[in-house]
Amino acid sequence: MSDAGAPPRDAAAVAPAVAPADYLLRLADDRLVLGHRLSEWCGHAPILEEDIALANIALDLIGQATALLELAGAREGRGRSADDLAYFRDARDYRNLQLCELPNGDFAVTIVRQFLFDAYDHALLQALQGSADAELAGIAAKAFKECRYHRRHSAEWVVKLGDGTAESHARAQAALDELWRFTGEPFLADEVDRALAAAGVAPDPASLRDDWLRQVTEVVEAATLRLPDDRAVARGGRQGLHTEHLGHMLAEMQSVARAHPGAQW
């Protein structure tokens, strides 16, 4: 790129740096799938305030997913709307982290899963606000404000459960132990990530791990819990490889839209 007068050899190097649909679907699907999981608590949470809180967080996450899916649909250029992408893709085409699709379990599993995600999301959105992709940066800046109070909520509950009764402590620790193997995947980079990191569009996922671990360690210690020492091994969600749970969840989530395509009310 040093000879100023020469035509650009690599068109991608001079094209506007924006995130492709493939990357936006990763961001969107994390939120859509986790938001749907949280919505399953509606009417079932242990106390009324939590029922309302989890429904509110679900709403925020699904709202963020909608904005990202709309942008993904526009960038993809095949005329697919946010609804098309949410309701008419199969599990193999979903790009979310496996952490986000795991069943709710007991309240401790839901809360610990949420905190592990919120801490990752906090680091991710903070970085994405500075993206060279102005539209993505705008959505990230908005989502970051919401992530802050999501993280306040989940961190508070991890401490309440961990530093609570013997029963709540045991359940919170069991949740952390069970979920730990899913916490490596957010920080794995593939070619898509590496290209976007080089273009200043998105952070290299690996660069977010220190911040995430610092947050998790601080809260886990305050909660009198212990960090598992197992290795985090689960992976594949970003490439469409999922646990058996996602298909079941989507079957329910997508059933009305697929039974009555194009229905409106």
Partner: protein, 172 residues
């Protein structure tokens, strides 16, 4: 808008802002979409009228109703073909509410937002909690019961002085 027949004149943006000041938020009906800072811009040009809006919260279920209400209010003022454009940047903040709008919230029974907070402490016991004034009796002997309330923009609080639960507008 100027048409070939000259039957319609181009609307004045200032007048349209005035119309929008009469469009109230469906969930907090004492505040208009202008008070809330949802309306970011009103543009009148050869393309017609474009109203730029930004959502308060990503998942606010009132967004579609608000857009419909804006279009209906403009249609009633001889602008039948206005368009809505949604932007996410700059992100909405409760700091956009004027003091006058905050006073109306308080009179309606909702504690108005403090300035949006800065960095968060992760561990709850180390957090400095904001002091909310009860919108009914003014006491600051209050506690935040939950950051999440009946709508995305409100929290649930309780006043120990007048033993009254109340809603507080979230500061973000």
């Amino acid at each position: 808008m100027v048409t070939a027949g000259g039957t319609r004149t181009r609307p004045d943006a200032a007048e349209l802002w005035e119309v929008l000041r009469g469009v109230m938020d469906p969930e907090v009906p004492v505040l208009s979409v202008v008070d809330l800072g949802i309306v970011r811009d009103v543009r009148v040009d050869d393309e017609g009228v474009t109203v730029t809006v930004t959502p308060t919260y990503s998942g606010c279920p009132a967004v579609q109703v608000i857009e419909r209400d804006i279009l209906a209010a403009l249609a009633a003022h001889d602008v039948p073909d206005a368009r809505i454009r949604t932007v996410y940047s700059p992100p909405w903040t409760s700091d956009w509410l004027s003091d006058e709008a905050k006073a109306r919230l308080r009179a309606y029974g909702i504690a108005p937002p403090d300035p949006a907070p800065g960095d968060d402490e992760l561990v709850p016991l180390r957090r400095r909690s904001e002091v909310l004034a009860c919108p009914f009796c003014g006491s600051t002997e209050t506690e935040l019961r939950s950051e999440f309330g009946s709508t995305a923009c409100k929290s649930i609080a309780y006043c120990r002085s007048c033993a009254q639960p109340f809603e507080a507008f979230k500061a973000i």
